[in-house]
């Protein structure tokens, strides 16, 4: 279904609006209840429908399942774009998200920690969520907590530029059986079913989601092969051509609770996944990746181990894979590959079937954590935690039909074709393990009336790169009844990924086993103003220093690049967010951020991250049962790297709309969702290259996308 016509959008809108029936005056009941509780938000909290926001001595945002539904979001990335100070850029490979907080941008984005129910989903391979991430659907999500700035004093490694914690739904949250389906542009179909039930002291919740999509069809004008074609005289590039973002997904989550025990398990399968704009920025129409992620965790809480002392024990397991389903073409059939001598002559001749590289990675993560919470000392709220982590990148497979040095060329040519180099010295990565022990303490100390100091310290020992200690301090002053002032200082570290420490046989990016972690120090001042007129605003100023940034630096001899702790970046900025709720059912949200970061090595503005971003959202519940959500996101001022010949990345404004009608023919619910309503040509930056960027025209984002959704609640 490709609907690219404004009239179609409007007629669909009118269709849905015309389904309005004379409403039963639900407002009467709602007013009666509002009189008792004061506001819908309080009703939500009082019924446990939503959890109250814990007092976070950090600049945090909470997005609830209701917010997500109102937005019409299908993937967490659409939700996260609404968080002030967070912009979701794209990597050329599979369009993996680059969660950019406060000017901290990197191709693989290991500087952001994503947690599901407090457990990291970080992969050892690239330090990100997965190179075959394939998004995350939202049906199972109860809420998302986003902390801007560092959080290593509590969360440890990679809680660096920001932390995204996804809390999934329990049986208590789900209550009953619901099924739903949606279909829309790019032949995208989503199916979901959820079931939740609760007994006196236990509950069970299950969410199943499946989707299939052809993926957006953004056009790449020229790619890495276009560059090679110009040098070698071949004419085989698939550009101009479309990105390949087809994908099938299956997600399952189960949550069982009994008394103080929580048992959860999940499965995320990504199949037939296209490589986006190509693994090495050359379009690939046929390559397909697969990823399977299986997780399980168990948490047991003893609310009163002793008087005033509670304890929580948790254990978790995650197995994650990156697999290849169909040969991944690094360069298309007829290419010479990037194997050229200094005069541009091919070293390995032509590859009639294309340059094939099928990297597969299998990893396993086990975590144990114990934490204690003590309230027995007057004016103190003490926490102590200790834990163990074991990560094992236990299998590396690779098939390829190219080689990078004399020895590997002899081996590969002696066999011929696409050769399995797994368990040979010619594979791209060493299998390896990482172990980590840690201990942390935190005290929330009530210094005086209106003054509270949070002090935390965490020590981590890593088997591969040593020790690190990370503190945080937060001074919170209840300035007046409406205003709270916070001063926050924190340090963080980012563990080197195995691509940075253990890469081999890739002359452009060799691993360095003696790397240190990247470090970040951050200072923030925040003002939080809440009026009784439904108007809240938060303003904060931040400054950070990012040190020991891991970069692949040319070696003195041999024409290779090796990972080094070489980079340094400093940045500062402001974030302003406001929410106004003039009455129940109507609210407006706006946020504006400005940041300026500088690459200290080049003294040039840090590249790719937006220096300004402005986001507005209006949400209106009207008639009984209708909800209209309109939002606009304006991404501005993205600079290039110092030696990038291109002009700055174009700004864009994306407008999304979601119209939802619940209580339709009793148990149905329908929604019409339009993303990029005005079909804006929005692009995310492609990497710079030497001597030229390989995809000069950047990475196109989806055009207008129209989705119809229907749900039925039993």
């Amino acid at each position: 279904m490709n609907l690219h016509n404004n009239k179609t959008v409007l007629s669909l809108l009118f269709c849905l609006v015309s389904l309005a029936q004379p409403g039963w005056p639900d407002d009467l009941y709602e007013n009666e209840l509002l009189g008792l509780y004061g506001s819908e938000e309080l009703i939500s909290i009082a019924t446990g429908y939503t959890q109250p926001v814990s007092k976070a001595p950090a600049v945090a945002s909470i997005i609830t399942s209701e917010d997500i539904k109102r937005m019409g979001a299908m993937d967490i990335d659409e939700v996260l774009e609404a968080v002030p100070g967070l912009h979701v850029a794209r990597n050329h490979q599979g369009y993996n998200p680059i969660y950019t907080f406060r000017g901290i941008y990197s191709d693989f984005n290991p500087q952001v920690l994503m947690l599901i129910n407090g457990i990291p989903v970080t992969n050892l391979f690239a330090g990100n969520r997965s190179n075959t991430w394939g998004g995350m659907p939202v049906e199972a999500i109860q809420r998302i907590e986003v902390i801007r700035g560092p959080g290593s004093a509590i969360y440890g490694a990679d809680a660096f530029a920001g932390v995204i914690n996804i809390i999934t739904k329990s049986g208590e949250n789900l209550k009953g059986l619901e099924v739903g389906a949606s279909h829309g542009t790019y032949d995208t179909t989503n199916l979901m079913a959820s079931y939740g039930t609760a007994w006196s002291d236990s509950s069970l919740g299950v969410v199943l989601e499946a989707s299939t999509t052809d993926g957006q069809r953004g056009r790449i004008g020229a790619d890495a092969q276009s560059y090679l074609d110009a040098i070698t005289g071949t004419q085989v590039s698939l550009a101009p051509g479309r990105v390949n973002l087809q994908r099938d997904s299956l997600d399952f989550r189960l949550d069982y609770r009994k008394g103080n025990l929580i048992v959860r398990t999940g499965y995320q399968g990504r199949y037939n996944a296209g490589s986006g704009a190509g693994v090495v920025q050359a379009l690939d129409r046929s390559g397909e990746f697969k990823s399977q992620r299986i997780n399980a965790d168990l948490t047991y809480t003893i609310p009163e181990l002793m008087r005033d002392l509670s304890a929580t024990f948790s254990a978790s397991f995650l197995n994650a894979t990156q697999e290849v389903e169909k040969d991944v073409l690094l360069f298309p059939p007829g290419s010479t590959g990037s194997f050229l001598d200094e005069h541009g002559n091919p070293l390995l001749g032509l590859f009639p079937d294309g340059v094939v590289g099928n990297p597969e990675v299998f990893e396993r993560h086990v975590r144990l954590n114990t934490s204690f919470h003590y309230l027995g000392l007057k004016d103190h709220d003490l926490s102590l935690g200790l834990g163990y982590y074991s990560g094992d990148l236990y299998r590396v497979n690779e098939e390829k039909n190219y080689c990078t040095d004399i020895v590997s060329c002899e081996y590969i040519h002696s066999i011929g074709g696409v050769v399995d180099v797994s368990d040979t010295p010619f594979v791209f990565l060493r299998e390896s393990t990482r172990k980590n022990y840690y201990i942390y303490v935190q005290d929330i100390f009530n210094l005086a009336n209106d003054w509270e100091l949070t002090a935390g310290l965490r020590y981590d020992h890593y088997s591969d790169f040593g020790d690190t200690i990370n503190p945080r301090l937060a001074l919170v002053w209840s300035t007046t009844n409406r205003l709270t002032t916070k001063l926050l200082y924190a340090e963080a570290f980012r563990a080197p990924a195995f691509t940075e420490t253990r890469n081999i046989n890739n002359p452009a990016a060799l691993g360095n086993p003696s790397l240190d972690s990247e470090t970040l120090r951050s200072l923030e001042l925040a003002f939080d103003y809440k009026s009784t007129h439904g108007f809240n605003t938060i303003f904060n100023i931040f400054y950070y220093q990012w040190e020991d940034i891991i970069q692949f630096i040319p070696d003195p001899v041999g024409g290779t690049n090796t990972a080094q702790n070489a980079g340094r970046q400093t940045g500062s900025g402001i974030e302003l967010e406001s929410k106004w709720t003039p009455r129940s059912g109507l609210d407006f949200t706006a946020n504006y951020v400005w940041q300026k970061s500088t690459n200290a090595r080049t003294d040039h503005e840090a590249a790719n991250a937006p220096q300004q971003q402005f986001y507005v959202q209006a949400n209106w519940g009207f008639l009984p049962d209708y909800n209209l959500n309109l939002r606009a996101n304006w991404v501005m001022d993205r600079e290039r790297e110092i030696n990038d010949p291109r002009a700055s990345v174009d700004d864009y404004v994306l407008v999304d709309m979601a119209l939802r009608r619940s209580n339709l023919w009793r148990k149905f619910e329908a929604a019409l969702i339009v993303k990029n309503l005005f079909d804006e040509d929005a692009r995310e930056p492609s990497p710079n290259g030497v001597p030229v960027p390989l995809i000069p025209g950047d990475l196109p984002l989806p055009g207008r996308t129209i989705i119809g959704e229907i749900r039925y609640r039993f």
């Binding site: 004061g38 009082a46 019924t47 209701e66 009336n449 007129h533």
Partner: protein, 313 residues
């Protein structure tokens, strides 16, 4: 696409399982057990979650069959038909609108309800008025701060005369000075509050009665801002006020209300008529930021009773 096909198979399976569970769950009550029909309004979330909590309490107390009718315009007719075919022993209604609907179909059988005001009291065999009694307010105030020496309240004689009289009696028995000012409109109320805010000394209490319509957001802001500056204790039955800076509020414990309603239903089954009870099943909401500002130490017993510790910010 094979994965999708597999998924659709699983989906179909889970729907069948759920349907089977529903069939088996719908048991039939024994003849000697009380059968109850609960009528409540069909509303959206999160409002619907409140009714679910009532129903949990009701089901825990009533040993017999409890049939629920979430009523909207269309389902009113099916309710009438169903109760005509199989009349229950007692009708229960949640909210005034439901009382009106249940009253039309009950055919003389007892009707108990939980309501926010006394509009339909005459047709009820018993029930709960969702307003905490004076002793509930006073007990919670003293639990949180037992050195209280003065309480101020502006009230509407139309709505709250009895409540204020009871509170005054309890307070004076404890040696607390109780100053109550009558107001019939927002201007009189504002004047009353202004007078209190001027004369109140630190750790005096201001009791905000939310149901008289006197408190618009400007007046509430002024009260809470001055209370912060002068360290006055503000309490209420509205958790929203706590969010904005009042020290505490008592609000309905819906499951507890459901249990009490179930007990009332069982006791009026044979036609007795009871007066509406004030709300005693309450939960406690406290503003931690205000607690710290006032420097009040909560006893472990009170801390345990707090259901909502509203975030400091």
């Amino acid at each position: 696409m094979t994965e999708l096909a597999r998924l659709i198979g699983i989906l179909n399976g889970s729907i069948l399982l759920a349907m089977a569970a529903m069939v088996f769950a719908g048991g039939v009550a024994a003849d000697d057990e009380t059968e109850i029909v609960v009528v409540y309004p069909k509303v959206r979330e999160p409002f619907a979650a409140l009714y679910r909590d009532y129903l949990v309490g009701i089901s825990e107390t009533v040993p017999g069959k409890v049939t629920e009718y979430a009523i909207n315009g269309e389902s009113q007719a099916s309710l009438a038909k169903a109760v005509d075919l199989s009349p229950p022993d007692v009708f229960m209604a949640i909210g005034n609108k439901s009382v009106k609907i249940a009253d039309q179909v009950r055919g003389g059988r007892p009707l108990v309800a939980v309501v926010a005001n006394r509009q339909y009291e005459s047709v009820l065999s018993g029930g709960i008025l969702l307003k905490p009694s004076a002793d509930v307010y006073m007990a919670n105030l003293l639990d949180i701060y037992d050195k209280i020496h003065k309480i101020y309240v502006v009230y509407s004689p139309e709505y709250d005369q009895d409540l204020v009289n009871d509170a005054k009696t309890i307070a004076e028995r404890r040696g607390i000075v109780f100053t109550a000012v009558k107001a019939t409109d927002i201007r009189e109320a504002a004047a009353g509050y202004q007078k209190f805010l001027q004369e109140a000394k630190a750790y005096s209490a201001i009791w905000l009665l939310p149901d008289n319509g006197f408190l618009d957001s400007s007046l509430l802001s002024t009260i809470l801002d001055v209370a912060w500056e002068k360290k006055l204790i503000v309490f209420s039955s509205n958790p929203l006020f706590v969010k904005h800076g009042a020290l505490f509020a008592v609000y309905p414990d819906n499951r507890g209300v459901g249990v009490t309603l179930g007990e009332i239903a069982l006791s009026v089954e044979n036609g007795e008529k009871l007066p509406l009870q004030p709300l005693r099943d309450v939960r406690l909401a406290v503003n931690e930021r205000t607690i710290n500002h006032l420097g009040i130490d909560l006893s472990p017993e009170v801390r345990r009773r707090i259901e909502l510790m509203l975030p400091g910010r």
